[in-house]
Assembly symmetry: C2
Homo-oligomer: 480 residues x 2
């Protein structure tokens, strides 16, 4: 937890942002629900507790069973939670009171959890606006439905027209929270570097464990062990696969075979719950074949080019497009595409090779604030999402500002089912060499990802030791 | 997954057991809900998927989004799940169909998930009984409420009088499932030994990592890494603490100090989701002090004595009581208690030192079937739970049968808050030497736990290599 002044300042800024939305007296209240325990097998055998990220941002209290109300008119803040009962202290040892925990977050008023329903009920009876954020956990959904007097499933989605007021998460509150969380403070940047260091340690252990005959799960488990030893755990389920072309692949039951490409996309969440997210692609035999190296170098150049372009004032959407052009240039040299590069970029040819975006925001979530709405988080008000495969999958399109934390993760994949689909539909047929592409059906995929902080005048990689990325450096590291 | 004949036979036996509950034609249907993904940070960043254990037992399919209906009158079984859409195959690679997956579980009839609501609705409109098990996940609770036409929170608990029919989990079905799952089949015993081996490997790594100055979390993470490398993960959140007297302690932020006792209670869940659960207590300095060794030896003798008594025909409740007597005898020799041993057992004096039961069932859950009701699982119909601390916390009291898998886990803890409570209330004051107990306020706690299979004529420990338990062996192992 940071010093309480950090949380007090963030709440103050949120109250100021909400002041823009309505005149004083009609701004209403904000209801914040912390997470509870989540059952794995049965209710008392829970998954490792993960607090809600927006709760962590505004209150920092990393324990289940908390809620809070911010009064956007008066500026008052109240925390709701139940003290440990005397009887439980026998089992749990001496426990700090809710009041003292709340003080640590700079909040001076507390009440039992049951008072939340009364206080929200009172606000509703006074016809005050009740703002709350989109919810990811089922229990929290049920709780808000109860607080708001809604039936099951009545909870809608935030709409611009506001017609669903009370029945939907608050668009005003969601936008204000995004505005704050998008720009990382210095204390957060230090945590991001810490999570980066842990993620880099995971990857180093993984790289040193690649050996023909090893089962993939063994490496995944070792990586988990690294991040659990010093942090909360993985920031998302590790992707470790010799079939990098299968983008949604979380099976790890394969034996490592010679001559394959191994994509490892993994990151750590540190004990303060900040995330890292790195991808490297390794030749399982320790040396790239020439065919592998040719494609690898294109992806590597794209990663470096994106980093070079990253600085305040440029839209990350434009970085994505510039990188697409460089990628198509490389693919053209391999004879896989042909034609005018700008035409190909415009037609979205790159999307067949890289059907995902160049990057996303990172912070307390690895896809930062994905629960608050991908477009609200990643797109400026004047930007619209493209319908094209690839560009349309871009999660972060905004004009960059200092304090943005983003991933830089170009990739090239040869997905036989997708290539066949484009071929049969005739999509971009004038640009694609389908015959030549056939030779790559067993190639797999390559992705290379770093986490990048936008600085005052440029960008820097996060974590202390950037993972080797140039093909020669990768081969050398694999020997070491 | 086992061979499909295993699942077919289990379902057949369940249908036979349900046939006892009502005449043919009025037995109704059983609704089985598999688990879905559970959000950690946001909905698409989920915890590692854990299937429902009863679902695994009857269907084995280890994937989210499944449900099934068993017709207890006709014997028909139908599985509900959605095939992966063609578009998704581009991302997920080629996927087997629901029909072929169901065949692997011996089920020949499948339908889209949406048909579940229609089929249950049809059964309800025909006034057929709809049986379902108690639910642990909130989403599954919401789903059953929807299927049964209940409002939020209407779902009650199973009652003997059946007055809540339709609004509560089925007591008949719950009892039948418990009857089956309590006795482990040979194929399950092999999995339990596999989970045991993995748990023992976790503990061995932990024992070798105890070093003054190390942060507890580092060892916890290493243990996690071992089980994740070869299995699903931990079977419950690891307890690793120099304050063993605090029974509900999942913090691992302490530095290892000399002269302490370190309780490590941890187990593995293997890839087939069978659990192990072992506890050992180590002197952080590598050698027990005489005071530590004296108490340790009592707990060790209790563990061995419980194992010696364990065989078919004896109630585990009686084993608990016999062990309590031995424990009190040892404590008496240390001058901590005095008086007639049988009187002390009857008065529950041992509960102040060991406020938990001797053991619990283990299987697909570490507290096997805890979601189905602790008393239904652990108590024979003619047994009632004691109100006493300790004995009343016993989770497994039943008369033992071959195929039962239980933990043997005596412990002695000096919990200052509990001792002070008993002292101030005068509880068992004639037997307790409160002055002498003061000398143990900073002692901590000791627990020693093995997993035990009840065999035809006795019992055996599970896993290939029982962890060292005698104090000399523990000290030797710590040097190695």
């Amino acid at each position: 937890m940071f010093n309480k002044s950090v949380y007090t300042a963030r709440r103050q800024r949120l109250i100021e942002l909400m002041a823009r939305t309505a005149p004083q007296g009609s701004r209403g209240i904000g209801i914040f629900i912390g997470n509870g325990e989540a059952a794995a097998q049965y209710r008392d055998n829970a998954y490792k507790f993960r607090q809600d990220s927006s709760w962590l941002y505004f209150f920092g209290i990393d324990a289940p069973g908390y809620a809070a109300v911010m009064d956007f008119d008066s500026g008052d803040v109240k925390i709701y939670a139940d003290d440990v009962e005397i009887g439980d202290i026998i089992w749990m040892g001496p426990q700090p009171s809710v009041a003292s925990i709340a003080e640590g977050a700079g909040v001076h008023v507390t009440a039992p959890f049951s008072a939340l329903k009364e206080d929200v009920g009172k606000a509703r009876s006074q016809h005050r606006k009740c703002h709350y954020l989109p919810l990811s956990r089922w229990y929290n959904t049920m709780l808000i439905e109860t607080l708001m007097g809604l039936g099951p499933g009545d909870l809608g989605k935030a709409k611009e027209d506001g017609a669903t007021e009370g029945r939907a998460p608050s668009l005003e509150l969601t936008k204000a929270v995004i505005e704050l969380r998008l720009i990382k403070e210095d204390c957060e940047i230090a945590e991001m570097d810490d999570a980066g260091a842990l993620g880099q340690e995971m990857h180093t252990v993984a790289r040193n464990s690649i050996k023909i005959g090893t089962i993939e799960q063994e490496i995944v488990g070792k990586m988990d062990g690294v991040t659990l030893s010093k942090g909360w755990g993985v920031s998302f389920p590790t992707i470790l696969t010799q079939h990098g072309e299968t983008l949604h692949n979380h099976l790890h039951d394969k034996v490592i075979e010679p001559g394959k490409l191994m994509v490892i996309d993994a990151g750590a969440e540190n004990n303060s719950h900040y995330a890292s997210d790195f991808t490297r692609t390794y030749p399982t035999s320790g040396k790239f074949t020439q065919k592998q190296r040719d494609v690898y170098q294109i992806v590597c150049d794209c990663n470096e080019y994106a980093f070079k372009l990253t600085k305040p004032g440029i839209a990350y959407r434009d970085v994505h497009l510039a990188v697409s052009k460089l990628m198509l240039e490389g693919l053209s040299q391999l004879g896989l595409v042909h034609g005018n590069l700008d035409d190909m970029v415009a037609e979205g040819v790159a999307g067949m090779f890289q059907p995902h975006g160049l990057g996303h925001n990172i912070g307390l979530d690895v896809h930062d604030m994905e629960d608050l709405g991908e477009d609200l988080v990643g797109y400026d008000p004047d930007q619209r999402r493209s319908p094209q495969l690839g560009l349309g999958n871009l999660r972060m399109a905004r004009v960059l500002k200092p304090g943005h934390f983003i991933s830089d993760e170009p990739g090239i994949y040869f997905i036989p089912a997708l290539i066949e689909k484009w071929k049969s539909e005739g999509t971009c047929k004038d640009f694609l060499n389908f015959d030549k592409l056939k030779e790559y059906y067993d190639f797999g995929g390559i992705r290379l990802e770093d986490d990048v902080l936008v600085t005052i005048d440029g960008a820097r990689h996060t974590g202390p030791n950037r993972l080797p990325i140039q093909p020669d450096d990768v081969e050398t590291a694999m020997q070491g």
